[in-house]
Every structure is written in structure tokens, then in C-alpha cells.
Symmetry: C2
Subunit: 328 residues, 2 copies
Amino acid sequence: MTSIKDVAKAAGVSTATVSRVLANNAPIKAETRERVLEAISQLNYRPNLIARSLRAQKSAKIGLVVSDIRNPFFTAIGRAVEDAAYEQGYSVLMCNTDENPEKEELYLNLMHDENVAGVIFSPTQQFSASFNAYNAKMPFVVIDRVVNSKEIDMVLLDNVSAAYELTTHLLENGYRKLAGLFGDASTTGQERSRGFHKALKDYQLNPVAAHFISPRIKQGYDTTIALLENSNRPDAIFTSNSLLTAGAFQALRDKKISVPSEVALVGFDETTWGELVDPPITVMSQPTEEIGRTATELLFQRIQEPSRSTKTVILKGTLIVKGSSGKK
Amino acid sequence: MTSIKDVAKAAGVSTATVSRVLANNAPIKAETRERVLEAISQLNYRPNLIARSLRAQKSAKIGLVVSDIRNPFFTAIGRAVEDAAYEQGYSVLMCNTDENPEKEELYLNLMHDENVAGVIFSPTQQFSASFNAYNAKMPFVVIDRVVNSKEIDMVLLDNVSAAYELTTHLLENGYRKLAGLFGDASTTGQERSRGFHKALKDYQLNPVAAHFISPRIKQGYDTTIALLENSNRPDAIFTSNSLLTAGAFQALRDKKISVPSEVALVGFDETTWGELVDPPITVMSQPTEEIGRTATELLFQRIQEPSRSTKTVILKGTLIVKGSSGKK
DNA sequence: GGCGAGAGTGTAAACGATTACATTGTTTGT
DNA sequence: ACAAACAATGTAATCGTTTACACTCTCGCC
């Protein structure tokens, strides 16, 4: 492996000079710089990031710890974060916790050990407790989910309003017997349920049902089947994330329920499949690109100025109306 | 930051002893070990991985460089790799190249600079040329796509057979006017096209069409629209990856073509949406879990024994018959 | 002509671990 | 009883950088 010593020798200077040429942060005679750069390209030298990171006690990496890499929402976020980080010369380490607090702890420790400059993170609900310990160790930005602390930067969707708007859309289109399926793994589900109930109250209605369940296709399916077999069957189903939407849709199909004439269906997040099925699904779309980019920018701000006062950015979703919620 | 020195001081031993307790690779008096472990947990000490990596000239990280993190096939692979690596105490750095040779080079360099133990990698077609340079620098395992070299471990699908089987399925069900859409970004598309043509030849048929296009939904859509408007319209469409399948499906719907009675559709890879649409899509499913796991195992073998002769593992796909290819 | 400022460079000490080598006891075999 | 082997530990070099400090010139200025 060619090191800075080899370059120094080849250029006839000290390693300090080579380092200074690389960092470009000190006066160097033009001719010396030439020689060093020449040696560098001659030897095909690449600085060792490990050594640099050890010495500088920091690195140009940020961590992205999400709850499920297979969830399209998070891969979209990942892409946005990566692009934004890349522009600043940072690389991204991506990990997923699978909504598992143990893995969460493991990966946050790993991030710390890897000396990352900061972490973008979507915490499980259990996390709030152990949070402060980590927050002290490195810059953090939390996305998608609320952490019960004022001491932290967050990028969130205005979930209550988004759910309110989505629910109101159903009500305006004439649906009256609404059922809600909400994920129980995150704070997101709770907030969306609040918006759901608020909209119903404005219409002086009660929900037919509201269930907090594990955010998996299977749970969405099972719960929907039960709803449909119930004597008081809903005429519209509200789901708080795309996996539940998928499960509900599958159940409606298996039960041969016509959508939306018998039962309408709405959910969150744009997905590939949402507009391919029949009818396409009405969704509240989250601005994934903006969420990822904003989180990255906040993180960089905090890295540069650790004592800056914390900020919470709340973004709006966009209602995308399709066939699954057509006028009754 | 608490370092090994603090632990040594607290336990009244030298740093060497602490290190030996940690590595567990030398005889230590039980009582001393106790004291050291006590000090470690007292101080909440965690070894600095950066320093360890610098000294040892290696690390417990592997890189996973894929062409699109948003492609469900690759996220599934990612998950499998992560699980397998975790079992060995390794962590995974995931990056995506977006089929872009520049990004590919960037990330491979990054992996090298990060001192990863090895890389699992799905190369673009342009990559073969510059390949040997990288192969020399660190252990490699190539997945999904062929690299023109005997000097490398690979985990591949038996693409020709898989495509042959999928095509034969269409032919057995009575379809005769087949069109094929193949991705042009990887070797995979080419191999699948070979299987497609081979099956047709066995039936003494010619394809109605065979297009190599960019593996994006939009291209799949546009090309399918053109096929459907052509005077010699196919009665079945074969797609070589799930993005093209999605595009083709969308086109069939927009053109209000009944599937499969007017035109059948088959593709590769199981996806969430493939079984939610109407009709569900017949696919050749790839064993993603097995691909990821095998690649990881091969990588570890090579890390342990760099001079071992290279191996190519070829896995079989599974035909999953659904409604989109029903008997004519 | 002497002095301060700054340009330009080198020397060597970090960063936090691992490990070759040295050292000191304690067994063990003959 | 003595050499050899080994257990148990410490000392210090090392990995590849960055950077504080020191040094030497060369100016410009009084």
C-alpha cells in the first residue's frame, strides 16, 4: 500500500507538506505543490481514510438507521439522503433495525464506534427512554417519528393534518362508516389516528372501528377480513401505512368486495403498486425527497454548530386522489 | 472518550493486557481478567474500531454495492447479506450505483479506502474492463451479473434456463405470438433473452418482437404501448425484470387490454404488487435469500483464504404461476 | 542595519488500538 | 537439579494520517 511517506519521499518533501497540499489549508510554494501532486498521481496514491479518521477524530460518513429497508418510504428517503450527503462529500452507511430495539441499539453503537459525523434515524417507540444517552454522543436528526425530547432536530410529516385531510376526503365523497387501521410500532400511527378521529368528530360521526396493529401486510389482511365479516361493515377503510394498505387491499379482493362502490380504501405513501391495481389507491403522499434532504441539511448544520438550538421541520403531505375513493 | 489506557489504569495493568483480554487470544490469569472486565464495564468502555482497523489493516465490515437500492430484488438481497454478515460479527455498508459507472467507481474506491474486508457487488456492463484493478485490491463476490473473468467468485441465477422455463410455460399454455422486453443495463437481460429465444426455437416459432431497453418503468410502458399498437400484436409479453413488468402492466391497463385473454404477461422477481393486481402476475422468482447468503459465505471464504480457487454458484429460479398467463 | 511578520517547510507527537519481543516466574521432564 | 517450556505480563513499535511547534528565509519598515 502506498502511503503518504512514499509520496513524501518521491516528491522530496516531508509528510507534513504532502498533507498540507492535500488539505489545501496552508501556504505552499507552487513548485512544491506541483511536485507533490505529480508524485501523488504517479504513485496512484489515495489517502487512508481510517488513519485520517483516527487522527482527526471525525469522518466524512453519516449513518442512516431506518426501521425497514424494504419499506419503499425508507428506501426513497435513503436515496434522498445519499444524494444530499454526496454533494457535501459525505458517504452514507445504511442499516435497518426491523423495528427491533436490540438491533437499534446495536447499530447506534456501531455508528458511534465507526466515528460517524452524525446519524439520521427513525426510532422505534421504545427508544425514547434510552435516547438521551445517544444524543449526547453524536449529532442526531430524527425523521418520521417523534421523540419525546426538545433537545433534538426532527423532520416530520404533519401527520394529524394529513390524516385529517385524507379522512375528510372520504367524508366529502359521501362515506360515513369509516374504519381505521393504524401501525402500532411508531408514533406516526398514533398521530394519524388523531387526525382520523378529528375529521370524524367534525362530521359528528364515530368510527366503525379503529385498530392499532403491527405494520405488516398479514396483520392488515387479517384485520380487514374481520372488519368485512362483521355485521356492521364499514363503507371505507383508512390505513396508516402502505403495508397495511396492501393487506387491506388483498382482503378486499379475496372477499370479492367491489372498491370503492362497496368499500373505499385510502392510505399513505406513493408506491409502485398503488397505481397499478384496480382501482388505483387514493393516498396521502409524503415528500420523501424533501424529508431526506432536509434531514441531511439539518444534520450538517448541527455537525458544524453543535450548540445551535434545535429545530423541528414539519412538512405537508399531498393528497393524490385515485379511483379507490370515488364519490359514493 | 474513554480509551484502552483508561481501562488499563483503572485495572492496574498494561494496555497490552487489556487488549489481550478483549481479543481472548492469550493466556490471562483469571483474576486479572476479572479486574479488566470489571474496569471495562465500570468505565463503559467500547474499543475504537477506527484504531483497531488502522492497526490491524482490516475491519469487520463488508461492502454491498448494488445498482439500485429501490429495486425490491436488491433490497431483499441486502437484507439477506446483512443477516448473514451479522452472524459473523460483520456489519454491512450499502451503496447504490444507479447503473452509473462513475458512481460505481466512486463507491468501490470508497469501499477500498474504508478498509472493508470485502465487497459484494452487482456490476454494470461497462465494468468488466476496469475490473481486474479492483479485484486485486480486495476480496470480491459478484452477484446477479456476469463478469468476463475466471478470476472471481460469482453467485448467479441460471438465467437462460429460467427464461426458457418461463417462456415454455407461455407456449404450453397456448400462446404463440410472444414479445420480449429485456433490460439493456446488465448481462442478465442478454441471458434471459437467450432462454426466451431458445424456447421459441424448440417450438419452431419466431418472436413477434424482442427489445433491449433501459430497465425503467417508463421504458417498459412506452415499448409495450408501441407493441400493442402494432398491426402484428403479440398475444403474450415476456419481461426480464420487475420494473419492465410494471411498465408493461400499466400499458396493458391503459389500453384496456384484457389479461390474459387478449395478451398474457410474465416477468421476473416476486414483488408486493405482483400478486395484488388483477390478474396477479406469473413470475420466475429468484431465491434472494439464498443468493445473498451464498454470496456472503463465499466472500468470507475468500477473506479467510485469498488464494482459494474461484467458484461460481448458479442457482435456480422458481416458476410461480398466477392468473396473468392462464391457458389460452 | 536590525527587527517583526509572514511564507514555506520539517520534526515529532499525537489518535487508540495490536503485537513482536523481552521479562519473570513456575512447571515439567530427565 | 537443571534446562526447556510455557504462563502471564509489560514495553514499545507500529498502522497512516494531521498538526503544534520550531525553524529558516525573505521582505518591508523604521
